[in-house]
Amino acid sequence: MPVTTPPSGISHIWLLAQYELTKRFTNKSGMVALIAFMLVWGILLLYPIKSASEFIMQPNFKAFTEALFGPGSLQHLFEWPVAELAVFWLAALYLFPMFSIFIASDQFSSDKQRGSLRFLTLRVSRSSLFFGRFLGQMLIQFALITFTLLATIAMVMTRDISLLLPSLTTSLLVMINLVIVLLPYTAAMAVLSLYANSARQASIFAVILWAIVSIIIAIINFQFPQLNGLSMILPGSQISSMINTQGLDSLAFSPIPLMQTVVILALGNVLMKRSAL
């Protein structure tokens, strides 16, 4: 038998993340979630995003958005170099976090119920397991964002091939922004799935948690308007402000989700170390 040296914590995290990625793209339930994801994005790409270049420039659409969101609230949306990506941005900012709540909901719950985590913790530290699974889920979502962006770029090419370069540069910034937006959602799902008995229960926990925290924050803000910064504790609180930004301007909001992620991951790591398996 070959002599082995135990891998470092970083190697374990990478191995676990790679395995998560493989699991997602080979497992039946993972494939069902992916098909649902592809259908939603297929419809979005075929209808609103494809026709974006036509309707986004129409004065009626601008008037409609101003009526809906307020004058000037979406003015930057009309300044995007590639119109399709502007609509993609609008949809992705809300849809990807929603998908995250479902796609990243089974980081630990099923394995904990089955006892499979017991096999793993004999070989890796709990911290490696926690961060490895989190990284794996981020890689999966990174892959999904990349696929949808590539599909959008392909569609843009069918309209105007000269838009390739602006599409690529804009997509890169969109991708970075979306990955940052998803970080705290994925971290929160890692923590919730530690306590849920199933993926579905973890998603339900997330919906309840978001609703309750939003209500509490709204009540506190109503009573104490000086505490309006409190809403920043909730993942996704910056999304509504990000819609009317583009490119590097959107990155100005990244400290909020990054800070949230650090706090949630630190908390999750402590809970993971303390929980009974």
């Binding site: 038998m1 040296t5 135990p6 191995l15 339930s29 499979s116 913790t121 004999l122 890796v124």
Partner: protein, 299 residues
């Protein structure tokens, strides 16, 4: 070198004290048995040793390290009770991943999986998914995962529970074959099985350590367990007491006596017994050198 040292170990659950101030020292070597009735704290002790749960009080050192520490990765392994593999992936792919986590590269991990599945005679099921296996086969796969990388310590929680006699025998054979390189700690209700495998027995009851004994005979005295077929048991008792070197005779069942006697190099006592049987025309069922584990623990 001390294999495992537990000092004043307690585990309190919300409604139960599962382990109560247990202190013990285990040395590496022959398999060690962990015995006790249901709810005695055996699985709790195993879970503490594996680092699945934290003790309420006390400390554990395994080869000088705390449970769950990095130094024990790949050194201590276990067959945890009620732990199952992911039903969506093949056995080979999951075991290969475990091997990679222990430091095997991809090629060596594949070889290691073949090796451990051969040990439990399940090479043919490598590409099967866990759900397609019987209970006995699943247990053997879980034992195979515990043997990846030839760990120094393997904890087996009820390894033969629910297995048919043939499979249980296979598991015992695996433990016997590997006992030289690995120290097994086995919890079971099957005393006959443990008696065949283990030298050292830890007996837990109601969360407390009742006994930590060696099955090996003491230096000065020895035992014979005598099971009779047809005879006058009271008369036999008198006859046995009159034999040379006999210290004590204890009835341990309807037809069974346990004889304690001064250690001898030859077979004087056995010869005396056969002479008595011949004289009285009594039939015996078995003359067993030593005592059963049940007798050792509960007499």
């Amino acid at each position: 070198m001390i294999l495992i040292q537990c000092d004043n170990l307690s585990k309190q659950y919300p409604n139960k004290l599962a382990l109560d101030n247990v202190s013990l020292i285990l040395q590496p070597g022959a398999p060690i048995a962990l015995v006790g009735p249901n709810g005695a704290g055996k699985t709790t002790l195993f879970s503490l040793l594996c680092g699945y749960i934290q003790p309420t009080h006390g400390s554990i050192r395994i080869l000088g390290h705390a449970p769950g520490s990095q130094a024990l990765q790949g050194v201590l392994s276990a067959l945890p009770q009620d732990a199952a593999l992911d039903p969506n992936f093949t056995i080979a792919s999951q075991l290969q991943f475990f091997a990679q986590l222990q430091g095997f590269n991809k090629t060596d991990a594949k070889q290691e999986v073949i090796r451990v599945l051969e040990l439990v005679e399940l090479s043919d099921s490598a590409q099967a998914k866990p759900k397609s296996l019987s209970h006995g086969m699943s247990k053997r796969v879980s034992i195979a995962q515990a043997l990846i990388g030839a760990p120094e310590i393997v904890l087996l929680d009820e390894p033969t529970a629910g297995l048919d006699p043939a499979n249980a025998k296979k598991i015992r054979q695996i433990v016997k074959n590997l006992a030289g390189e690995t120290t097994f700690i086995i919890s079971s209700h099957n005393l006959d099985e443990l008696e065949k495998l283990c030298d050292h027995v830890i007996y837990l009851e109601k969360g407390q350590l009742q006994q930590s004994v060696s099955i090996k005979a003491s230096q000065a005295t020895d035992f014979i367990t005598l099971t009779m077929q047809t005879c006058d048991m009271d008369k036999l008792h008198q006859q046995l007491l009159s034999l040379i070197n006999v210290i004590e005779v204890k009835r341990s069942g309807d037809e069974q006596y346990v004889i304690e006697y001064h250690k001898q190099s030859g077979f004087e006592l056995e010869s005396q017994l056969l002479a008595v049987f011949n004289e009285q025309q009594w039939q015996y069922k078995a003359i067993l050198k030593g005592r059963t584990l049940e007798e050792t623990l509960f007499s």
